[in-house]
Symmetry: C2
Subunit: 155 residues, 2 copies
DNA sequence: CTGCCTGCAAACTCTTTGCACGAAT
DNA sequence: ATTCGTGCAAAGAGTTTGCAGGCAG
């Protein structure tokens, strides 16, 4: 999904819900989709302010749930105090797992198609119907441990 | 593992780390192991205070990481603002997944032995070595939806 | 025009921390 | 006697919210 197609989908979602298309919301959307990696609310605020200086923290926090509900953004909680977000470019409801590197703090996403099956299998035993599933692996960098440098390290 | 065996393990762990065996720590331990279900720090504080009124919130928060490191307690973060804890009665490092019911807010634990294999498989592709893995399914109660009552609902 | 959106700042929740006193070893 | 542990209260991080004014529809 191209960014302009995604932006269109966002406008449509807002209209459909009776929500207004404001400059701030568009700036926040654009900032989110300009970012390839995962980002926090605070990082999103910084980037959105480059596009529209009037964007406030409150509006970022109020817009994030909207974008999440519209499925344009995925919320990723790795249990670290703050939540991360990630542009959902595929549009589909692809099942993904996260691998969090404890050395470089990066979050990698890998598709985990079997996860849905597993959610079903485990829930049905309890008489439950699965809604969402999360699979997260925290890991350490082998190369870093052996050579002292992480091949993926940027900062 | 019986509660007295677990308490002994806790005393041993404290001694081995050069930490002191205080009434407060024991009260917090006992409160944790008297509880079958998952609990929050605040709930643990309430229950520990029944055993020893002098227990403070700060000590609970300082003791939780100790019990977690000693593997007597498992930390369960379902991404809901506050963390949950669960007495680890098996003692082993069994791989477990959580099923969180969105209707009754209960957390069910199910063993997921394949999770370790999966963590390995996914991490190695990235040149990483898995440390921990979490698998969580959020689900809705089928019976509740059909009959209006959750068979497991207590409150 | 009407009412949703906004920024600001204060409030909130959960957790952590500095300090002086108290208790375990 | 030493230290480490403790309670208290304040601080801290991340997020939410009440309000008065502003802008989309």
């Amino acid at each position: 999904m191209s960014i302009s197609a995604a932006r269109e989908k966002f406008r449509k979602f807002l209209a459909q819900k009776g929500l207004r298309v404001t400059n701030q919301r568009l700036a926040i959307f654009d900032a989110a989709f300009a970012q390839q990696e995962h980002f926090t609310a605070e990082q999103l605020l910084d980037r959105a302010r480059v596009l529209d200086a009037s964007v406030s923290r409150a509006t970022v926090y109020r817009t994030l749930p909207i974008m999440t509900k519209s499925a344009l953004l995925r919320e990723v909680d790795i249990g670290s105090g703050e939540k991360f977000y990630h542009a959902n470019r595929e549009g589909g409801s692809t099942q993904v797992a996260q691998v969090v590197c404890l050395d470089c703090d990066r979050i990698f996403e890998v598709s985990a198609p079997f996860m849905e099956w597993y959610g079903n299998s485990v829930s049905s035993k309890l008489g439950l119907r699965p809604v969402t599933q999360r699979l997260q692996v925290s890991a350490r960098c082998d190369t870093l441990r052996l050579t002292g440098t992480c091949p993926r390290r940027t900062s």
